[in-house]
């Protein structure tokens, strides 16, 4: 500050002002940094906790179906897990004790899948009794966690879910090549289960897709047509401004209130099934209706009047003008709004809790009216589960959900940048 026209006092004032300017700018940068930092930490935590879900371990066992130990009259009553555990012990060269404690502990290392698989094979062809079957099934969740290093030998034995002996066995199984790590395809081909190693997201993904389909089928036509009426046909007056205020307020109503509406209106008054994709889809449709209307109106508004005037001048009626010219021009904007609204609906949880979606639902939903699970609620349920193995699955399911959201949002961004016209 050696400017000759500046008095020393003014120079110091200017210095202070410029310092204030730099500080202010810094606050802004800090705010951005904080927001993006939160986003980074959030995503990093989810990935860090969830990536291990996509890798799992399976064990291959050859089970001798001893005719002496299988009761043919009551196949379902047989304990096939116990048979399999016997084979595992034999492989490990351990003799079972009188109480069967060793078999019990061995049984706790292999998924109960093996019992069901054996039962299915015998039901399909009873002649397999007396032969030896070789099967590959997942290891139990705790064993999987040990292989992934989340349960450690160093932890005092009473604080971990596996005994010293079980850990020795697991090491031995790994050494002898009984256990192999592989991509966890079961996570994508199975539905919810009480056993973590048998739980997957397929049921929830299908449920979410069905629900979104119902919501889209109801909300998109209704919302777009309502917006067309409000923007192009409605007489400007008290009624239309009342509807407009109404829609703006509906867009800001907490989502849980829509859940209460669904519970009372659809389930109690109209007798719709609880926890079904149909009911959930209708609730989500009501919820995304105002957002779709607002987005559609904005994009109709951006179509210049000259388009309308040209069509009207050529002798088209008002309806023809709107449906043949204005709406097609506005379509990219409408689609962007619709996709964003549906992406939001896909991640919505609270209203679905209100209509009974928390119920445990193994298997795939058969119809629109049968009980189903959906992805965000599945995340909520798993997050509450006690078993540690469900925690990685929660994060895994979140990654699946976020992947869907990213796909939808990217589609919206592409639509917007590719097709939207600037007039």
């Amino acid at each position: 500050m050696t400017d000759p026209h500046l008095s020393p006092a003014a120079a110091s004032r200017l210095k202070a002002r410029h310092a204030a300017e730099r500080r202010f700018r810094l606050y802004g940068q800090l705010a951005i940094l904080v927001a993006l930092g939160f986003l980074a930490v959030l995503l990093a935590r989810v990935v860090h906790q969830g990536y291990s879900t996509f890798w799992t371990h399976s064990v291959t066992l050859s089970v001798y179906l001893d005719p002496a130990r299988i009761d043919r009259s009551d196949l379902e009553g047989n304990n096939f897990d116990y048979l399999a555990a016997g084979d595992l012990l034999k492989r490990l060269e351990v003799n079972d004790d009188a109480l069967g404690l060793a078999s019990g502990e061995a049984m706790d290392l292999v998924s109960r899948d093996i019992g069901f698989a054996l039962l299915d094979r015998i039901k399909a062809d009873p002649r397999v009794i007396g032969t030896t079957l070789t099967l590959t099934v997942p290891v139990k969740a705790n064993a999987d966690l040990y292989y992934k290093g989340q349960i450690r030998r160093e932890t005092p034995a009473e604080d971990r879910k596996l005994s010293n002996r079980q850990i020795d066995w697991l090491d031995q199984m790994k050494r002898e090549g009984l256990v192999k790590g592989h991509f966890n395809s079961g996570f994508f081909t199975r539905s919810d289960s009480t056993e973590p190693e048998q739980a997957g997201v397929l049921g929830a993904v299908v449920g979410s897709a069905l629900m979104l389909l119902v919501a889209a089928l109801i909300a998109v036509p209704t919302g777009v047509l309502a917006a067309v009426w409000l923007e192009e046909f409605a007489p400007k007056g008290r009624l239309s401004s009342f509807i407009e205020v109404n829609i703006n307020n509906l867009a800001a109503v907490p989502s849980i209130v829509y859940g209460l509406l669904g519970l009372v209106l659809f389930i109690n008054w109209l007798g719709f099934p609880r926890s079904a994709p149909l009911t959930g889809g209708m609730v989500l449709a009501l919820m995304s209706l105002p957002t779709i209307i607002i987005a559609t109106r904005a994009s109709l508004k951006s179509v210049p009047p000259s388009i309308r005037e040209a069509a009207l001048g050529m002798g088209a009626s008002r309806t023809q003008t709107v449906f043949h010219h204005v709406l097609p021009q506005a379509m990219p904007g409408v689609m962007t709004g619709v996709i964003l609204a549906l992406a939001h609906a896909l991640g919505e949880t609270a209203p679905l809790l209100m209509i009974g979606m928390v119920a445990f639902t193994p298997g795939l939903p058969e119809t629109l009216q049968s009980a189903a699970s959906v992805l965000p609620v599945q995340i909520f349920i798993w997050e509450n589960a006690a078993e540690a193995a469900f925690h990685e699955r929660t994060a895994g399911a979140i990654m699946v959900l976020l992947a869907f959201m990213i796909v939808m949002n990217t589609a919206a961004v592409i639509l917007r940048s590719r097709f939207e016209k600037r007039w």
Binding site: R25, A35, G223, P254, L261
Partner: protein, 478 residues
């Protein structure tokens, strides 16, 4: 025939009628000109044929199950009448499940009851088919009547386009009415159930009671224990979490908006804005997961560490307290909710700051003001009403937010202003009350609707004020 199949059949019939009408008017027009394009004649007659019947079928689909259960339960047999209401409900749902061939509940009915159950299941199946048949017969009559009445009027001079456009206008107006109907539905359902709740718990006890303990089991004959449904602790908890959230979100969100609109160049903007949009698009259940498994333990670890440092010093009691802090504190839910609100506040404020006319900025710069002075002395005062509106909208969202508090805050309702205590919120309690066992008539479940109504009214008031403010502000500069 199941109703969806009937609707599909109706669609096929309408299409056929469309083709028929189009062809017919083409034949009639020999030599003279048509008033409208031929397609409009087809549409006109197809609408008369299909639309009324479609309405009936849709009503049948929405109201059929309800009508069936009303007729079925109208005259309960003596065995069922003697049951307590929950068991009777299970009985009826089992009867229906049996009729539909679905799995029943696992209640072991006595042989007597089993017999009645089978009878009722048969009755339900019969009723269902009768209702379906009746509705579809009515639809068929309407199809025939519509077609027969409209067919003779099909003539070249018929103003078919105007008629069809009239139908379209009605359809569009009905779609807009759906939005109003949703509001009416929300208010009606909340009011109806809340009134039932306020029947057993006086509204004043609910609004001003200081004790919230709905878990206390209540016998059917017992009047609601006085004071068990006082919602003040929940209001205080909600308010506390909201204040913490706004303390995080308001400055960060506002500064983000200021930086983006006044400082950042177009390239920085085009990178940062989509990232903030990602943050806005993260589902709330993911925020809840983040709060419960990351932020909660981290904050607890931090406070426990400080506590262990203070313990046995001059601040021993404080240290002891900090050592005992739990994951489920108000601070956890508040901070994470604040993170969720940052992009919301930022994008709303960004729009508002951008709406401040450039001439105000230019005037300020011309006077030699620096950028920060312009922002502080000119832009923010001009944008203040709009920014306040944005903040109010954020407050309303914070109050109504459910998943974060459900996953990260405690179940114990208490009156406290300490962010390290566990508090419970209105939305958390609504989830608690409605996801447990469902006995629909107990005050315990109905209390959720009392809370829902309060929540709805408070957020509605905030939204109306905020939207008014924002709108008036926009008009001022447009």
């Amino acid at each position: 025939m199941p109703t969806p199949l009937a609707i599909a059949a109706l669609l096929v019939v309408s299409l056929a009628v469309y083709a028929l009408g189009r062809r017919r008017v083409g034949r009639l027009s020999e030599g003279q000109s048509l008033h409208s394009l031929p397609g409009y004649y087809g549409l006109w007659i197809a609408l008369w044929t299909g639309a009324p019947a479609a309405l009936v079928l849709l009503l049948l689909m929405a109201g059929g199950p309800r009508l069936e259960s009303a007729l079925l339960t109208a005259n309960p047999p003596a065995v069922v009448a003697a049951m307590p209401s929950e068991t009777a409900q299970a009985f009826w749902s089992d009867a229906k499940a049996l009729a539909d061939g679905q799995s029943t509940t696992r209640i072991a009915w006595s042989p007597d009851e089993r017999k009645v159950l089978k009878e009722k299941a048969a009755e339900a199946a019969a009723l269902e088919s009768r209702i379906q048949l009746g509705g579809q017969a009515a639809a068929l009559v309407l199809v025939l009547a519509g077609f027969l009445l409209a067919w003779p009027r099909l003539a070249p001079q018929l103003r078919a386009r105007n008629r069809v456009e009239g139908w379209i206008g009605v359809l569009l107006a009905l779609c807009s009415a759906a939005a109003v109907l949703t509001t009416i539905g929300i208010i009606a359902s909340l009011l109806y159930e809340s009134l039932r709740f306020f029947h057993s718990v006086p509204p004043l006890d609910f609004l001003f009671g200081l004790d919230w303990q709905p878990q206390i089991a209540m016998r059917e004959d017992q009047v609601a224990a006085k004071g068990a449904f006082g919602a003040v602790p929940l209001f205080v908890g909600t308010f506390l979490v909201m204040i913490i959230a706004m303390c995080v979100a308001a400055p960060v969100g506002l500064f983000c908006a200021i930086y983006l609109s006044e400082y950042a160049g177009p390239r920085t903007r085009s990178v940062i804005k989509p990232m903030l949009e990602i943050l806005a698009g993260v589902p709330t259940v993911v925020y809840g997961f983040f709060a419960a498994l990351t932020v909660g333990p981290a904050l607890r670890g931090f406070f426990n560490y400080i506590g262990s440092w203070l313990v046995q010093g001059p601040f021993d009691p404080l240290g002891q307290y900090l050592m005992a802090v739990q994951n489920e504190m108000a601070l956890t839910a508040g901070v994470v909710m604040g993170i969720m609100l940052i992009p919301y506040i930022s994008s709303l404020s960004d729009d508002i700051i951008n709406a401040v006319p450039q001439s105000l900025r230019d005037g300020s710069y011309a006077m030699g003001a620096t950028r920060s002075e312009t922002v502080k002395r000119v832009i923010l005062p001009a944008a203040l009403p709009g920014v306040m509106g944005a903040m109010l909208l954020a407050v309303s969202r914070a109050i109504g937010e459910t998943m974060i508090v459900t996953m990260a805050s405690g179940a114990q309702a208490r009156i406290t202003a300490n962010p390290l205590d566990s508090v419970s919120t209105v939305t958390f309690q609504m989830v608690q009350l409605l996801t447990g066992d469902q006995e629909f008539d107990s005050p315990k479940t109905l209390a959720a609707f009392g809370l829902g109504l309060t929540l709805f009214l408070v957020t509605l008031t905030l939204n109306v004020i905020a939207l008014q403010v924002v709108q008036r502000y926009r008009q001022a500069y447009d």
